[in-house]
Protein backbone atom coordinates (compact mmCIF):
# COMPACT_ATOMS: atom_id res chain seq x y z
CA UNK A 1 0.00 0.00 0.00
CA UNK A 2 2.52 2.60 1.10
CA UNK A 3 5.88 1.87 -0.42
CA UNK A 4 8.28 4.34 1.04
CA UNK A 5 11.48 4.30 2.98
CA UNK A 6 10.24 7.11 5.29
CA UNK A 7 10.72 6.12 8.94
CA UNK A 8 7.71 5.81 11.19
CA UNK A 9 7.58 8.50 13.92
CA UNK A 10 4.72 7.05 15.91
CA UNK A 11 2.13 4.34 15.57
CA UNK A 12 -1.01 3.31 17.37
CA UNK A 13 -1.38 -0.41 17.95
CA UNK A 14 -4.80 -1.91 18.50
CA UNK A 15 -5.94 1.23 20.35
CA UNK A 16 -9.28 1.20 22.13
CA UNK A 17 -10.58 4.13 24.10
CA UNK A 18 -13.44 4.31 26.60
CA UNK A 19 -15.02 7.54 27.79
CA UNK A 20 -16.18 7.96 31.38
CA UNK A 21 -19.30 5.82 31.59
CA UNK A 22 -17.92 3.08 29.38
CA UNK A 23 -18.74 4.33 25.89
CA UNK A 24 -16.21 2.76 23.52
CA UNK A 25 -15.15 5.59 21.24
CA UNK A 26 -12.20 3.95 19.46
CA UNK A 27 -12.16 0.37 18.28
CA UNK A 28 -8.85 -1.31 17.65
CA UNK A 29 -7.07 1.39 15.69
CA UNK A 30 -3.69 0.48 14.23
CA UNK A 31 -2.07 3.16 12.13
CA UNK A 32 1.37 4.72 11.55
CA UNK A 33 2.44 8.38 11.47
CA UNK A 34 5.34 8.77 9.07
CA UNK A 35 8.13 11.09 10.07
CA UNK A 36 7.95 14.62 8.65
CA UNK A 37 4.74 13.83 6.82
CA UNK A 38 1.22 15.12 7.28
CA UNK A 39 -1.39 12.54 8.13
CA UNK A 40 -5.02 13.65 7.93
CA UNK A 41 -7.95 12.10 9.79
CA UNK A 42 -11.29 12.47 8.04
CA UNK A 43 -14.75 11.17 8.77
CA UNK A 44 -18.22 12.37 9.78
CA UNK A 45 -18.88 14.07 13.13
CA UNK A 46 -18.66 11.74 16.08
CA UNK A 47 -16.50 9.18 14.26
CA UNK A 48 -13.76 9.44 16.88
CA UNK A 49 -11.12 11.33 14.91
CA UNK A 50 -10.65 14.03 17.57
CA UNK A 51 -10.79 11.40 20.29
CA UNK A 52 -8.00 9.54 18.52
CA UNK A 53 -5.91 12.67 18.07
CA UNK A 54 -6.26 13.59 21.74
CA UNK A 55 -4.91 10.18 22.78
CA UNK A 56 -1.49 11.13 21.41
CA UNK A 57 -0.89 13.83 24.03
CA UNK A 58 -3.02 12.19 26.71
CA UNK A 59 -5.54 15.05 26.80
CA UNK A 60 -8.16 12.57 27.98
CA UNK A 61 -6.26 12.35 31.28
CA UNK A 62 -7.65 15.79 32.20
CA UNK A 63 -11.12 14.35 32.72
CA UNK A 64 -11.82 11.60 35.23
CA UNK A 65 -12.97 8.13 34.22
CA UNK A 66 -11.49 7.92 30.72
CA UNK A 67 -9.56 4.77 29.85
CA UNK A 68 -7.07 3.85 27.16
CA UNK A 69 -6.43 0.29 26.09
CA UNK A 70 -3.68 -0.41 23.58
CA UNK A 71 -0.49 1.37 22.66
CA UNK A 72 0.80 4.47 20.97
CA UNK A 73 4.49 3.90 20.36
CA UNK A 74 6.84 6.79 19.67
CA UNK A 75 10.00 6.11 17.70
CA UNK A 76 12.97 5.95 17.78
CA UNK A 77 12.89 5.33 21.54
CA UNK A 78 9.90 2.94 21.49
CA UNK A 79 8.11 4.76 24.32
CA UNK A 80 4.51 3.73 24.81
CA UNK A 81 2.87 7.11 25.35
CA UNK A 82 -0.14 5.50 27.01
CA UNK A 83 1.77 3.37 29.50
CA UNK A 84 0.91 3.96 33.15
CA UNK A 85 4.46 4.78 34.12
CA UNK A 86 4.78 7.51 31.48
CA UNK A 87 4.15 11.02 32.76
CA UNK A 88 1.60 12.79 30.52
CA UNK A 89 3.56 16.02 31.02
CA UNK A 90 6.63 14.36 29.48
CA UNK A 91 4.49 13.27 26.56
CA UNK A 92 3.13 16.77 26.04
CA UNK A 93 6.66 18.16 26.06
CA UNK A 94 7.32 16.07 22.94
CA UNK A 95 3.92 16.26 21.26
CA UNK A 96 2.29 19.69 21.05
CA UNK A 97 -1.21 20.61 19.95
CA UNK A 98 -3.15 23.30 18.13
CA UNK A 99 -6.85 23.51 18.89
CA UNK A 100 -10.04 24.02 16.92
CA UNK A 101 -10.64 27.52 18.26
CA UNK A 102 -7.62 29.76 18.77
CA UNK A 103 -7.01 29.74 22.53
CA UNK A 104 -4.27 32.27 23.29
CA UNK A 105 -3.57 32.96 26.96
CA UNK A 106 -4.44 36.31 28.57
CA UNK A 107 -0.86 37.47 28.11
CA UNK A 108 1.22 39.42 25.64
CA UNK A 109 2.08 37.98 22.23
CA UNK A 110 5.63 37.43 23.45
CA UNK A 111 4.60 35.66 26.66
CA UNK A 112 2.17 33.43 24.80
CA UNK A 113 4.98 32.09 22.63
CA UNK A 114 7.37 31.92 25.58
CA UNK A 115 4.86 29.96 27.69
CA UNK A 116 6.17 26.49 26.89
CA UNK A 117 9.72 27.61 27.61
CA UNK A 118 8.70 29.21 30.89
CA UNK A 119 6.92 26.09 32.16
CA UNK A 120 10.09 24.18 31.31
CA UNK A 121 11.99 26.60 33.56
CA UNK A 122 13.76 28.52 30.80
CA UNK A 123 14.16 32.14 31.93
CA UNK A 124 17.34 33.23 30.17
CA UNK A 125 16.18 36.31 28.27
CA UNK A 126 18.51 35.79 25.31
CA UNK A 127 17.43 32.18 24.83
CA UNK A 128 13.72 33.05 25.17
CA UNK A 129 14.04 36.06 22.84
CA UNK A 130 15.67 33.91 20.15
CA UNK A 131 13.16 31.08 20.50
CA UNK A 132 10.19 33.44 20.39
CA UNK A 133 11.47 35.09 17.24
CA UNK A 134 12.24 31.76 15.60
CA UNK A 135 8.81 30.36 16.49
CA UNK A 136 6.97 33.46 15.26
CA UNK A 137 8.93 33.32 12.00
CA UNK A 138 8.15 29.63 11.74
CA UNK A 139 4.46 30.44 12.11
CA UNK A 140 4.67 33.25 9.50
CA UNK A 141 3.59 35.81 12.07
CA UNK A 142 6.85 37.61 12.86
CA UNK A 143 6.52 40.42 10.33
CA UNK A 144 3.01 41.26 11.49
CA UNK A 145 3.76 41.39 15.21
CA UNK A 146 7.47 42.19 15.60
CA UNK A 147 6.71 45.80 16.53
CA UNK A 148 4.07 44.96 19.10
CA UNK A 149 5.32 41.84 20.82
CA UNK A 150 4.10 43.14 24.17
CA UNK A 151 0.53 43.81 23.08
CA UNK A 152 -2.18 41.56 24.46
CA UNK A 153 -2.68 38.49 22.25
CA UNK A 154 -6.46 39.01 22.22
CA UNK A 155 -5.97 42.08 20.04
CA UNK A 156 -4.92 39.89 17.09
CA UNK A 157 -7.38 38.71 14.46
CA UNK A 158 -8.68 35.14 14.56
CA UNK A 159 -6.25 33.92 11.91
CA UNK A 160 -3.34 35.66 13.60
CA UNK A 161 -4.37 34.15 16.94
CA UNK A 162 -4.33 30.69 15.40
CA UNK A 163 -0.85 31.29 13.96
CA UNK A 164 0.17 32.54 17.40
CA UNK A 165 -1.04 29.25 18.87
CA UNK A 166 1.03 27.44 16.24
CA UNK A 167 4.05 29.57 17.18
CA UNK A 168 3.40 28.73 20.83
CA UNK A 169 3.37 25.03 19.99
CA UNK A 170 6.50 25.37 17.84
CA UNK A 171 8.62 27.24 20.38
CA UNK A 172 9.47 24.12 22.35
CA UNK A 173 10.69 22.12 19.31
CA UNK A 174 8.13 19.32 19.50
CA UNK A 175 8.59 16.12 17.53
CA UNK A 176 4.93 15.78 16.60
CA UNK A 177 2.29 18.45 16.25
CA UNK A 178 -1.42 17.68 16.53
CA UNK A 179 -3.94 19.90 14.77
CA UNK A 180 -7.56 19.49 15.85
CA UNK A 181 -9.60 21.07 13.03
CA UNK A 182 -7.30 24.10 13.08
CA UNK A 183 -9.19 26.14 10.49
CA UNK A 184 -12.83 25.45 11.31
CA UNK A 185 -13.17 28.83 13.08
CA UNK A 186 -11.34 30.80 10.38
CA UNK A 187 -12.23 32.58 7.14
CA UNK A 188 -10.96 31.25 3.76
CA UNK A 189 -7.90 33.54 3.57
CA UNK A 190 -6.76 32.71 7.10
CA UNK A 191 -7.43 29.04 6.30
CA UNK A 192 -5.19 29.22 3.23
CA UNK A 193 -2.44 30.78 5.36
CA UNK A 194 -2.64 28.02 7.93
CA UNK A 195 -2.63 25.31 5.26
CA UNK A 196 0.45 26.82 3.65
CA UNK A 197 2.08 27.00 7.05
CA UNK A 198 1.35 23.33 7.70
CA UNK A 199 3.00 22.37 4.42
CA UNK A 200 6.11 24.30 5.44
CA UNK A 201 6.16 22.76 8.91
CA UNK A 202 6.40 19.34 7.28
CA UNK A 203 10.14 19.98 6.91
CA UNK A 204 10.55 20.19 10.66
CA UNK A 205 8.13 17.81 12.28
CA UNK A 206 5.49 15.14 11.98
CA UNK A 207 1.90 16.35 11.76
CA UNK A 208 -1.42 14.71 12.53
CA UNK A 209 -4.43 16.80 11.53
CA UNK A 210 -8.14 16.24 12.08
CA UNK A 211 -10.29 17.96 9.51
CA UNK A 212 -13.93 18.20 8.58
CA UNK A 213 -12.97 19.50 5.22
CA UNK A 214 -12.09 16.81 2.71
CA UNK A 215 -10.55 19.27 0.27
CA UNK A 216 -8.24 20.38 3.04
CA UNK A 217 -7.11 16.82 3.66
CA UNK A 218 -6.54 16.38 -0.09
CA UNK A 219 -4.60 19.64 -0.32
CA UNK A 220 -2.25 19.37 2.64
CA UNK A 221 -1.79 15.76 3.66
CA UNK A 222 0.50 12.97 2.51
CA UNK A 223 -1.52 10.20 4.12
CA UNK A 224 -5.19 10.05 4.92
CA UNK A 225 -7.17 7.89 7.32
CA UNK A 226 -10.93 7.59 7.03
CA UNK A 227 -12.69 6.82 10.30
CA UNK A 228 -16.29 5.90 10.93
CA UNK A 229 -18.00 5.06 14.24
CA UNK A 230 -14.73 4.67 16.11
CA UNK A 231 -13.17 2.37 13.52
CA UNK A 232 -10.41 3.00 11.05
CA UNK A 233 -12.06 2.14 7.75
CA UNK A 234 -9.21 2.89 5.40
CA UNK A 235 -5.72 4.30 5.61
CA UNK A 236 -3.38 5.11 2.75
CA UNK A 237 -1.60 7.52 0.53
CA UNK A 238 -3.76 10.66 0.18
CA UNK A 239 -3.75 10.49 -3.63
CA UNK A 240 -4.87 6.91 -3.50
CA UNK A 241 -7.62 7.51 -0.90
CA UNK A 242 -9.09 10.35 -2.94
CA UNK A 243 -8.76 8.70 -6.38
CA UNK A 244 -8.93 4.94 -5.93
CA UNK A 245 -10.24 4.10 -2.45
CA UNK A 246 -10.41 0.37 -1.92
CA UNK A 247 -13.38 0.43 0.43
CA UNK A 248 -16.89 1.26 -0.66
CA UNK A 249 -17.55 3.28 2.56
CA UNK A 250 -14.56 5.53 1.89
CA UNK A 251 -15.68 6.14 -1.67
CA UNK A 252 -19.21 7.00 -0.53
CA UNK A 253 -17.86 9.49 1.98
CA UNK A 254 -15.36 11.26 -0.25
CA UNK A 255 -17.77 11.49 -3.17
CA UNK A 256 -20.38 12.98 -0.87
CA UNK A 257 -22.92 10.18 -1.07
CA UNK A 258 -22.75 9.99 2.66
CA UNK A 259 -21.70 12.22 5.55
Amino acid sequence: MVTTSTPIKAESRDLNFYYNGGHKALKGITMPLYEKKITALIGPSGCGKSTFLRCFNRMHDLYPGNRYDGQIIMHPDNTNVLANGVDPIEVRMRISMVFQKPNPFPKSIYENVAYGLRVRGENNKRVVDDKVEEALKGAALWDEVKNRLHDLAFNLSGGQQQRLCIARALATDPEIMLFDEPTSALDPIATANIEELMSELRNKLTILVVTHNMQQAARVSDYTAYMYLGELIEYGDTDMIFTRPTRKETEDYITGKFG
Binding site: L62, R92, Y115, V119, F154, C165
Partner: protein, 315 residues
Protein backbone atom coordinates in the same frame (compact mmCIF):
# COMPACT_ATOMS: atom_id res chain seq x y z
CA UNK B 1 -52.45 40.66 5.74
CA UNK B 2 -52.75 38.86 2.44
CA UNK B 3 -55.90 37.04 3.46
CA UNK B 4 -57.46 40.32 4.66
CA UNK B 5 -57.47 41.77 1.15
CA UNK B 6 -59.52 38.84 -0.11
CA UNK B 7 -62.46 39.15 2.32
CA UNK B 8 -65.37 41.58 2.09
CA UNK B 9 -64.77 45.22 3.13
CA UNK B 10 -67.09 45.38 6.13
CA UNK B 11 -65.74 42.09 7.42
CA UNK B 12 -62.22 43.39 7.09
CA UNK B 13 -63.11 46.45 9.10
CA UNK B 14 -64.55 44.37 11.88
CA UNK B 15 -61.53 42.15 12.00
CA UNK B 16 -59.12 45.08 12.16
CA UNK B 17 -61.04 46.87 14.91
CA UNK B 18 -61.22 43.65 16.94
CA UNK B 19 -57.52 43.21 16.53
CA UNK B 20 -56.91 46.84 17.48
CA UNK B 21 -58.92 46.43 20.67
CA UNK B 22 -56.78 43.45 21.50
CA UNK B 23 -53.66 45.45 20.72
CA UNK B 24 -54.74 48.25 23.02
CA UNK B 25 -55.37 45.85 25.85
CA UNK B 26 -52.05 44.10 25.29
CA UNK B 27 -50.32 47.43 25.09
CA UNK B 28 -51.86 48.53 28.35
CA UNK B 29 -50.86 45.34 30.16
CA UNK B 30 -47.33 45.72 28.79
CA UNK B 31 -47.13 49.26 30.13
CA UNK B 32 -48.39 48.25 33.57
CA UNK B 33 -45.84 45.44 33.79
CA UNK B 34 -43.10 47.73 32.58
CA UNK B 35 -44.05 50.29 35.20
CA UNK B 36 -44.06 47.72 38.00
CA UNK B 37 -40.66 46.43 36.94
CA UNK B 38 -39.29 49.96 36.85
CA UNK B 39 -40.73 50.63 40.30
CA UNK B 40 -38.92 47.60 41.69
CA UNK B 41 -35.67 48.66 40.05
CA UNK B 42 -36.03 52.24 41.21
CA UNK B 43 -36.72 51.36 44.86
CA UNK B 44 -33.06 50.55 45.48
CA UNK B 45 -31.88 53.62 43.61
CA UNK B 46 -34.38 55.83 45.42
CA UNK B 47 -33.34 54.49 48.83
CA UNK B 48 -29.69 55.16 48.06
CA UNK B 49 -30.51 58.66 46.86
CA UNK B 50 -32.53 59.32 50.02
CA UNK B 51 -29.64 58.16 52.19
CA UNK B 52 -27.22 60.42 50.32
CA UNK B 53 -29.63 63.35 50.57
CA UNK B 54 -30.11 62.93 54.33
CA UNK B 55 -26.37 62.49 54.90
CA UNK B 56 -25.66 65.66 52.93
CA UNK B 57 -28.44 67.65 54.58
CA UNK B 58 -27.53 66.76 58.16
CA UNK B 59 -23.81 67.10 57.43
CA UNK B 60 -24.42 70.61 56.13
CA UNK B 61 -25.87 71.67 59.48
CA UNK B 62 -22.90 70.00 61.16
CA UNK B 63 -20.45 71.97 59.01
CA UNK B 64 -22.23 75.19 59.95
CA UNK B 65 -20.80 74.67 63.44
CA UNK B 66 -17.54 72.96 62.62
CA UNK B 67 -15.19 74.13 59.90
CA UNK B 68 -14.20 71.56 57.27
CA UNK B 69 -10.54 72.37 57.90
CA UNK B 70 -10.88 71.42 61.58
CA UNK B 71 -12.84 68.33 60.60
CA UNK B 72 -10.10 67.14 58.27
CA UNK B 73 -7.02 68.19 60.26
CA UNK B 74 -7.83 68.07 63.98
CA UNK B 75 -6.24 65.02 65.57
CA UNK B 76 -8.88 64.51 68.20
CA UNK B 77 -12.46 63.31 67.98
CA UNK B 78 -14.31 64.16 71.18
CA UNK B 79 -17.74 65.52 70.15
CA UNK B 80 -19.35 64.35 73.37
CA UNK B 81 -16.84 65.93 75.74
CA UNK B 82 -16.91 69.32 77.37
CA UNK B 83 -13.85 70.30 75.33
CA UNK B 84 -15.22 69.10 71.98
CA UNK B 85 -12.92 68.37 69.08
CA UNK B 86 -14.19 67.29 65.70
CA UNK B 87 -11.24 65.78 63.86
CA UNK B 88 -12.28 62.76 61.80
CA UNK B 89 -8.69 61.48 61.39
CA UNK B 90 -8.66 59.20 64.49
CA UNK B 91 -11.79 57.41 63.23
CA UNK B 92 -10.34 57.13 59.73
CA UNK B 93 -7.08 55.71 61.07
CA UNK B 94 -8.99 53.14 63.12
CA UNK B 95 -11.11 52.17 60.14
CA UNK B 96 -8.11 51.86 57.82
CA UNK B 97 -6.03 49.88 60.32
CA UNK B 98 -8.70 47.30 61.15
CA UNK B 99 -9.61 47.00 57.45
CA UNK B 100 -5.98 46.56 56.43
CA UNK B 101 -5.48 43.77 58.98
CA UNK B 102 -8.68 42.12 57.82
CA UNK B 103 -7.62 42.26 54.18
CA UNK B 104 -4.12 40.99 54.98
CA UNK B 105 -5.86 37.92 56.36
CA UNK B 106 -8.76 37.61 53.91
CA UNK B 107 -7.11 38.26 50.54
CA UNK B 108 -4.37 35.59 50.72
CA UNK B 109 -6.59 32.95 52.34
CA UNK B 110 -9.56 33.77 50.12
CA UNK B 111 -7.49 33.70 46.93
CA UNK B 112 -5.69 30.47 47.79
CA UNK B 113 -9.01 28.94 48.79
CA UNK B 114 -10.53 29.96 45.47
CA UNK B 115 -7.60 28.51 43.50
CA UNK B 116 -7.80 25.27 45.45
CA UNK B 117 -11.57 24.91 45.07
CA UNK B 118 -11.60 25.82 41.40
CA UNK B 119 -8.48 24.06 40.12
CA UNK B 120 -7.47 21.32 42.52
CA UNK B 121 -10.42 20.07 44.57
CA UNK B 122 -12.35 17.09 43.28
CA UNK B 123 -15.98 17.62 42.44
CA UNK B 124 -17.02 16.03 45.72
CA UNK B 125 -14.68 18.09 47.89
CA UNK B 126 -15.87 21.28 46.22
CA UNK B 127 -19.52 20.39 46.72
CA UNK B 128 -18.85 19.76 50.42
CA UNK B 129 -16.55 22.69 51.20
CA UNK B 130 -18.38 25.44 49.33
CA UNK B 131 -21.67 25.22 51.28
CA UNK B 132 -19.73 25.13 54.55
CA UNK B 133 -17.81 28.25 53.58
CA UNK B 134 -21.01 29.95 52.56
CA UNK B 135 -22.54 28.99 55.90
CA UNK B 136 -19.86 31.18 57.48
CA UNK B 137 -21.46 34.15 55.69
CA UNK B 138 -24.66 33.50 57.62
CA UNK B 139 -23.07 33.76 61.08
CA UNK B 140 -24.25 37.03 62.69
CA UNK B 141 -21.42 39.54 62.98
CA UNK B 142 -22.12 40.05 66.68
CA UNK B 143 -21.00 36.45 67.20
CA UNK B 144 -17.75 37.24 65.43
CA UNK B 145 -17.41 40.30 67.68
CA UNK B 146 -17.64 38.23 70.85
CA UNK B 147 -15.35 35.66 69.30
CA UNK B 148 -12.76 38.42 68.78
CA UNK B 149 -13.19 39.88 72.25
CA UNK B 150 -13.40 36.71 74.33
CA UNK B 151 -11.36 34.19 72.36
CA UNK B 152 -8.95 35.71 69.83
CA UNK B 153 -7.70 38.61 71.95
CA UNK B 154 -6.98 36.42 75.04
CA UNK B 155 -5.20 33.99 72.71
CA UNK B 156 -3.12 36.80 71.21
CA UNK B 157 -2.29 38.09 74.70
CA UNK B 158 -0.46 34.81 75.34
CA UNK B 159 1.93 35.61 72.48
CA UNK B 160 2.02 39.39 72.71
CA UNK B 161 2.50 40.42 76.33
CA UNK B 162 0.98 43.78 77.18
CA UNK B 163 -1.67 43.59 74.49
CA UNK B 164 -4.70 45.46 75.86
CA UNK B 165 -8.06 43.74 76.08
CA UNK B 166 -9.37 46.12 73.47
CA UNK B 167 -7.09 46.32 70.43
CA UNK B 168 -7.36 46.46 66.66
CA UNK B 169 -5.40 43.29 65.92
CA UNK B 170 -7.92 40.76 67.26
CA UNK B 171 -11.03 42.22 65.60
CA UNK B 172 -9.00 42.82 62.42
CA UNK B 173 -8.06 39.15 62.19
CA UNK B 174 -11.58 37.97 62.99
CA UNK B 175 -13.02 40.37 60.44
CA UNK B 176 -10.58 38.88 57.91
CA UNK B 177 -11.79 35.37 58.65
CA UNK B 178 -15.34 36.63 58.29
CA UNK B 179 -14.58 38.04 54.83
CA UNK B 180 -12.74 34.95 53.49
CA UNK B 181 -15.88 33.22 52.18
CA UNK B 182 -16.99 36.36 50.33
CA UNK B 183 -13.66 36.59 48.53
CA UNK B 184 -13.18 32.89 47.89
CA UNK B 185 -16.70 32.40 46.64
CA UNK B 186 -16.69 35.28 44.14
CA UNK B 187 -13.11 34.61 43.03
CA UNK B 188 -13.86 30.92 42.55
CA UNK B 189 -16.87 31.70 40.38
CA UNK B 190 -14.64 33.92 38.24
CA UNK B 191 -12.02 31.20 37.88
CA UNK B 192 -14.55 28.51 37.03
CA UNK B 193 -15.88 30.77 34.29
CA UNK B 194 -12.53 30.61 32.48
CA UNK B 195 -13.17 28.40 29.46
CA UNK B 196 -11.80 24.87 29.58
CA UNK B 197 -10.15 25.42 26.18
CA UNK B 198 -7.71 27.82 27.82
CA UNK B 199 -6.73 25.24 30.44
CA UNK B 200 -6.37 22.60 27.75
CA UNK B 201 -4.05 24.93 25.86
CA UNK B 202 -1.86 25.22 28.92
CA UNK B 203 -1.83 21.50 29.70
CA UNK B 204 -1.06 20.73 26.05
CA UNK B 205 2.10 22.83 26.42
CA UNK B 206 3.25 20.50 29.19
CA UNK B 207 2.23 22.72 32.10
CA UNK B 208 1.38 21.24 35.48
CA UNK B 209 -1.87 21.88 37.30
CA UNK B 210 -0.22 24.48 39.51
CA UNK B 211 1.39 26.30 36.57
CA UNK B 212 -1.93 26.30 34.74
CA UNK B 213 -3.74 27.68 37.79
CA UNK B 214 -1.20 30.45 38.47
CA UNK B 215 -0.06 31.43 34.99
CA UNK B 216 -3.23 31.02 32.93
CA UNK B 217 -6.44 30.68 34.94
CA UNK B 218 -5.68 33.40 37.51
CA UNK B 219 -4.71 36.08 34.94
CA UNK B 220 -7.74 35.12 32.86
CA UNK B 221 -10.05 35.55 35.85
CA UNK B 222 -8.26 38.60 37.27
CA UNK B 223 -11.18 40.94 36.60
CA UNK B 224 -13.53 38.79 38.69
CA UNK B 225 -10.88 38.26 41.35
CA UNK B 226 -10.46 42.01 41.73
CA UNK B 227 -14.24 42.32 42.01
CA UNK B 228 -14.02 39.86 44.89
CA UNK B 229 -11.37 42.02 46.56
CA UNK B 230 -13.51 45.14 46.17
CA UNK B 231 -16.38 43.33 47.83
CA UNK B 232 -14.02 42.34 50.64
CA UNK B 233 -12.76 45.91 51.09
CA UNK B 234 -16.29 47.29 51.24
CA UNK B 235 -17.22 44.67 53.81
CA UNK B 236 -14.16 45.48 55.93
CA UNK B 237 -14.59 49.25 55.84
CA UNK B 238 -18.30 49.03 56.59
CA UNK B 239 -18.10 46.29 59.24
CA UNK B 240 -19.51 47.52 62.57
CA UNK B 241 -20.22 44.97 65.26
CA UNK B 242 -16.84 43.25 65.41
CA UNK B 243 -14.89 46.49 65.84
CA UNK B 244 -17.49 48.12 68.09
CA UNK B 245 -17.29 45.16 70.47
CA UNK B 246 -13.63 44.26 70.41
CA UNK B 247 -11.58 47.29 69.36
CA UNK B 248 -12.59 49.54 72.21
CA UNK B 249 -14.48 52.73 71.52
CA UNK B 250 -11.80 55.30 72.15
CA UNK B 251 -11.02 57.38 69.06
CA UNK B 252 -7.26 57.21 68.80
CA UNK B 253 -5.10 58.58 65.99
CA UNK B 254 -2.83 55.58 65.51
CA UNK B 255 -2.02 52.91 62.99
CA UNK B 256 -0.62 50.60 65.66
CA UNK B 257 -2.76 47.44 65.73
CA UNK B 258 -1.75 46.77 69.36
CA UNK B 259 -3.67 49.80 70.55
CA UNK B 260 -7.36 50.23 71.05
CA UNK B 261 -9.22 52.58 68.76
CA UNK B 262 -12.61 53.37 67.37
CA UNK B 263 -13.76 53.22 63.77
CA UNK B 264 -16.28 55.37 61.93
CA UNK B 265 -18.89 52.62 62.12
CA UNK B 266 -18.22 51.94 65.79
CA UNK B 267 -18.62 55.63 66.58
CA UNK B 268 -21.90 55.82 64.67
CA UNK B 269 -23.37 52.86 66.49
CA UNK B 270 -22.17 54.21 69.82
CA UNK B 271 -23.86 57.58 69.31
CA UNK B 272 -26.97 56.32 67.57
CA UNK B 273 -27.62 53.95 70.48
CA UNK B 274 -27.10 56.73 73.02
CA UNK B 275 -29.61 59.36 74.08
CA UNK B 276 -28.30 62.44 72.33
CA UNK B 277 -31.01 64.96 71.52
CA UNK B 278 -31.90 65.37 67.84
CA UNK B 279 -30.30 68.41 66.30
CA UNK B 280 -27.37 68.59 68.71
CA UNK B 281 -23.90 68.73 67.20
CA UNK B 282 -23.08 65.33 68.62
CA UNK B 283 -26.11 63.94 66.83
CA UNK B 284 -25.21 65.66 63.58
CA UNK B 285 -21.63 64.46 63.81
CA UNK B 286 -22.68 60.88 63.02
CA UNK B 287 -23.99 62.07 59.65
CA UNK B 288 -20.69 63.75 58.85
CA UNK B 289 -18.91 60.55 59.89
CA UNK B 290 -21.33 58.53 57.73
CA UNK B 291 -20.62 60.80 54.79
CA UNK B 292 -16.89 60.16 55.17
CA UNK B 293 -17.54 56.42 55.36
CA UNK B 294 -19.60 56.57 52.19
CA UNK B 295 -16.94 58.56 50.37
CA UNK B 296 -14.29 56.07 51.45
CA UNK B 297 -16.20 53.07 50.12
CA UNK B 298 -17.01 55.04 46.98
CA UNK B 299 -13.32 55.76 46.38
CA UNK B 300 -12.39 52.10 46.90
CA UNK B 301 -15.15 51.04 44.54
CA UNK B 302 -14.06 53.46 41.85
CA UNK B 303 -10.41 52.41 42.21
CA UNK B 304 -11.46 48.79 41.99
CA UNK B 305 -13.62 49.47 38.98
CA UNK B 306 -10.76 51.19 37.18
CA UNK B 307 -8.37 48.33 37.97
CA UNK B 308 -10.92 45.82 36.73
CA UNK B 309 -11.32 47.72 33.49
CA UNK B 310 -7.58 47.81 33.01
CA UNK B 311 -7.31 44.03 33.44
CA UNK B 312 -10.54 43.06 31.74
CA UNK B 313 -10.03 40.14 29.41
CA UNK B 314 -12.36 38.93 26.75
CA UNK B 315 -12.42 35.37 25.61
Amino acid sequence: MNTATQVLPNQTELKISARLAKNVRRHFVERVIEFLLMLAAMSAVATTMAIVAILLYESLSFFEHVSIIDFLTDTQWTPLFEDAHYGILPLVSGTLTTSAIALLVAIPIGTIGAIYLSEFASHRTRETVKPILELLVGVPTVVFGYFALLFVTPLLQKFIPGLPGFNMLGPGIVMGIMIVPYISSVAEDAMRAVPMSMREGSYAMGATRFQTAIRVVTPAAISGIIAAYILGISRAVGETMVVALAAGQQPNLTFNPMESASTITAYIVQVAMGDLPHGSIGYQSIFAAGLVLMLMTLIFNILGHLTRKKFRETY
